[in-house]
Symmetry: C2
């Protein structure tokens, strides 16, 4: 069992504590703030709900956290000391002196500083080479980036730092040279400065600026960053072509501040060469498709959260449903005809690397169709808010044929039985006339308060019974009521 | 049926064509480039595979595309003209003259310009108020942001432009004032300029810069942008507190260029007030959780794509499995004991707004458990690459009890039958000793080339038979072989 010392709590120190604890380390905290325990507790609560589920295997059992009265007590014998005290150099120096007087000589001492260079932190230190910058990003328990800056560092200790960070699920970005504010915060500051001008000059509000970011390049940068994105934009002609085309724009007076490195052939070659090393294993066509897969996956993820670019899609969809069968209610529909409960395209994020729809997405499509059917019979968002809904008790899926991303699929739904609390549905999924799968579902109406079965509202039962009677006049479909392993 | 004219093809014009066509518009293209048809065809191919599945209802039937020999022919009678010609003002002016000589006076004329202001585009125009900036972001068929800039515009036409863009699934960000490069490209340029310095000075390579973006603030910005992110970082004390804390940093010489607006009380109040209007309906605690839900969803989406921050997780997971039962193979395991095929935490993106695990994620957990069992018996990634795998033919799920995000779940798997091409599995999902669900699955071994059933490799069949014989000695579980609607 390894132990980390967290010197300085707050949002950043607390985030580090969470990374260590949830990855099985013990943690000893020193923070003179009387509110430290409460503040770190709040960060831990957020971290416990979000970090452990990131991976598809369980993390080790959580370590134990102990609050200490002195730095000496917190750092004694630990493997890693993480300093996250205020950004004032004299406070940093005093803190390192106390740490080094009591910690092991082979412990990593990482600083969360966003501004200072390691050489500045090391001034006057007992063992300068032990101190390195390990700069995280909020929320520290979720974002993997660590800027690792190690001027005059000890090679073995740097290696330990890297493998430790990786074991915590983090990505140590080891800078070649130290520089004020490292790398990422220089970008943040450039954007922040430009944003202040835009607000001050009345061009855009804070909300409009955030929208300009999150509906556009923010989604691109979440997966490819700046250079790889531009490499794709440059097309098959590559990075040199992109720079030839867009380099000159940099001379336009677009921003308040204009000092730009001279666009020498040497600089162009340097960037083009680095870009080849980074992305040259993929053709531009491949990169475009990787990018699109990522964008679709993230935007649809945000759609499920009804946030950002995903909330836009939900609004668009609500408009699209108006006046179509996808927006119909029971009274609009014939009782003796199957109900169309889905008409949609198989999205990229529903498919495996071969482009075939993944097993669990069949159930997602059927579950969406069930939701749509519930809406049709009056069990809609408003009714659910009032405390009633249907829960699925049992599901039976038969996979008949394969389907690819991009296919237009339709689901038609039969009410096998509907009375009182019970609803028994049989969905058939088609691409054109080709049957892809069937989904048979037994649901119970429940009280969302007690989570126990209760009868639905009368208008819902009436709509359900009407379809059940109408559908009883239709021939029984193949596969209904089948058990796995039963003879066909 | 509405019609749009696309003046200038390429990646941007092609992206516009795709937006219109896939949303049911007809499109008429003018581009003198003899390669235009091929280039737009390539964009259309990418757009067709990614855009239609973004929504959960089908888009209208695709419109028809026609290539025209003149601008006059392309714009005659259309509802929208989109100009995407090269960024030279004299070319833009000549193009608008030809467009306005032939188009309807009530058509929207949008320019894709990233740099020019509408007042510059309108110089010398026949009907200046008809010309507006509608600046999109690549890939135009996926990213929703449009910067709409309308100096001296016609109010009714602007309204038409907005509703049209929304109907195409886009977000018109209507700027209050015109400014060089609008909003988003000013940020892109600030970051690009800073990045050039970092590469030139040997601080970081293009790949390292991209990693600094996509493993850190890029993921944040994909969902909340700059100000809302900082509002959360400021904590309950709010935006004013954040600015009081971080405002002074802006005076440090962190970037090459340092002109910063003066931090007057007026500017602080302006920003704090706008931030309240934007995000004040959520407490900081709510925003933190919304942010974390979004981050988990996007990072896990990237994990499924094995890219960026998600690829890091997959590498971490592979390390975590080493030397544990999650990394075991058949020979390590007792034949007469159920096989542990999952031990994981229910992630945030698997749950509904109430925090309960969503129906289809039960099947995802069971399908992952099946994959894990396949790996255990030797049907691993390498074997699958050689051309054989198991496909699920039938699934039966019983939902016994509910489970929340953050719960640690375990799946234990029994081989009900395994011989020749057939594999019949029964998974039980537990939280501790509480049974949550069972998943019964019938699979067939197939050739991935013919997609027809074939026998598996002998070592796989042997491992399967060994478990089948061992598990036959265990008592039969409740619910095995059940059909929906059958008496219990």
């Amino acid at each position: 069992m390894k132990t980390a010392a967290i010197i300085g709590g707050g949002v950043i120190g607390g985030g580090w504590a969470a990374r260590f604890l949830l990855n099985g380390w013990d943690v000893q905290v020193f923070d003179p703030d009387p509110q430290a325990e409460r503040k770190i507790g709040e960060v831990m609560e957020n971290a416990r709900r979000s970090l452990p589920g990131l991976t598809d295997v369980a993390l080790p059992a959580e370590g134990t956290m102990r609050f200490c009265d002195t730095i000496a007590e917190a750092v004694a014998g630990v493997d890693w000391v993480q300093e996250s005290v205020p950004e004032r150099i004299e406070i940093k120096h005093a803190t390192f002196a106390e740490i080094q007087a009591a910690c092991r000589a082979d412990a990593v001492i990482g600083s969360s500083t966003s501004g200072f260079k390691p050489s500045e932190l090391q001034v006057g230190a007992m063992r300068p080479s032990q101190i390195m910058v390990a700069h995280p990003f909020n929320p520290v328990y979720l974002l993997p980036l660590i800027e690792l800056v190690t001027t005059n560092g000890d090679a073995a200790l740097i290696e330990t730092a890297k493998t430790t960070l990786e074991s915590l699920g983090m990505h140590p970005l080891h800078l070649k040279k130290e520089i004020d504010a490292h790398v990422a915060d220089r970008f943040l500051e450039a954007v922040w400065r430009e944003a202040l001008w835009l607000v001050k000059d009345g061009i855009a509000t804070t909300e409009e600026i955030d929208d300009a970011i999150r509906y556009g390049f923010g989604i691109r940068w979440a997966q490819m960053g700046l250079f790889e994105t531009y490499r794709v934009a440059g097309g098959e002609a590559g990075m040199k072509h992109f720079m030839a085309q867009f380099g000159p724009c940099l001379k336009s007076p677009w921003t308040k501040l204009m000092d730009v490195p001279e666009f020498t052939e040497e600089l162009v070659d340097l960037i083009a060469g680095q870009s080849d090393a980074q992305s040259g294993m993929h053709s531009i066509r491949e990169l475009e498709r990787i990018r699109d897969n990522n964008l679709v996956t993230m935007i649809r993820g945000l759609k499920a959260q009804n946030w950002g670019a995903g909330a836009l899609l939900n609004r668009q969809e609500a408009e699209m449903r108006k006046g179509t069968v996808q927006g119909a209610v029971a009274a609009d529909l014939e009782a003796a005809a199957l109900v169309e409960t889905a008409h949609r395209t198989v999205p990229l994020d529903w498919t495996d690397y071969n482009g075939h729809m993944t097993e669990s997405r069949y159930l997602q499509a059927f579950a969406d169709a069930t939701d749509r059917f519930m809406t049709i019979i009056g069990c809609d968002a408003e009714y659910i808010k009032s405390g009633g809904s249907y829960f699925t008790a049992e599901t039976h899926i038969r996979h008949i044929d394969e389907v690819h991303a991009g296919a237009l699929i339709t689901i038609r739904t039969r009410v096998v039985m509907g009375e009182g609390k019970k609803m028994h549905l049989f969905h058939e999924m088609f691409e054109g006339e080709r049957l892809l799968a069937t989904g048979e579902h037994f649901l119970l109406h429940v009280s969302l308060e007690t989570r126990k079965p209760t009868p639905p509202a009368p208008h819902i039962e009436a709509a359900l019974v009407r379809f059940a009677q109408g559908h009883a006049t239709l021939p029984a479909p193949d596969g209904l009521g089948r058990a796995i392993g039963a003879p066909r």
